[in-house]
Symmetry: C3
Subunit: 115 residues, 3 copies
């Protein structure tokens, strides 16, 4: 079991931010290897990072997913934007509430990073 | 006593951010009910969210307050902007330092969210 | 030994943000005195806050450093921007990964603040 756990919070539609958070995750993996659990939680405008198409970061996201990184979408944000799961990458999971997920993870000892 | 606790940090004057954080709080309440303590801490430009007037979010804030959400203002930010408590909504409380409050709460096990 | 610990995360090049985080740190010191350990972690565009020159905040940073505040730079960010340690203020230290540092500190009980 991993000794470290971290959840990244993405709530903006900025391409620069999206690129940054993915690089952040790659750096974390390089440093901690298998000793860390990583989740990216997207809510509000941040859910665009996980669109099925268009998605300029699809290959990176799929690679990170294959390395064990979890990708979670806020159900409230989908509803507010009239979107359903089918518009998003297959590996993404939907959680009832993005901020609820951030609370649950931190309460379980996960570190929080907001790029 | 609530099993979960979360503090939201607001330090920008963006209306979009303000709307987002209030929706975030509503979603948290929907998910956790009475099992969570919630505080919104406003400092720097974020204190504008709690102005007595003008305040487009007054009704939402009063409703959330009646449901137990705490609203805190940073005394340093008030001083820096030459404002006194009377300019702000009655339910808002003033803490000595916004960042100090964020440290105290996290040290006591509260989750931190920066929308 | 200090009872409180906090790490500030700076990843933008905004002068307003830099000014804010330094004021935040001064306010924390005023409130907690010696009872808190403080670190500022700069990554991505945030590393500019610690340039040797130009640096409009040099005096403030040196004063805070003399009071025990730690300033850390992300090695990955330096590499990505083709910069070496010599371009940065002497008191700054380099950590292997900025986000890794944020994980390690939070795992050790440090509070996290993203101004």
């Amino acid at each position: 079991m991993a000794n470290y756990k971290v959840i990244f919070h993405v709530d903006k539609s900025s391409v620069a931010k999206w690129k940054l958070v993915l690089v952040n995750i790659e750096n974390i993996i390089t440093e901690f290897g298998n000793d860390i659990d990583i989740e990216l939680l997207a809510n509000a405008e941040g859910i665009g990072l996980l669109y099925k198409t268009p998605n300029h970061f699809k290959e990176t996201i799929m690679r990170l997913s294959s390395m064990g990184v979890q990708f979670a979408l806020c159900a409230n944000s989908l509803k507010q934007q009239n979107l359903t799961k089918e518009f998003f990458l297959d590996m993404a999971t939907v959680v009832p509430s993005g901020v609820g997920e951030l609370v649950l993870k931190q309460s379980a000892g996960w570190a929080y990073i907001k790029p």
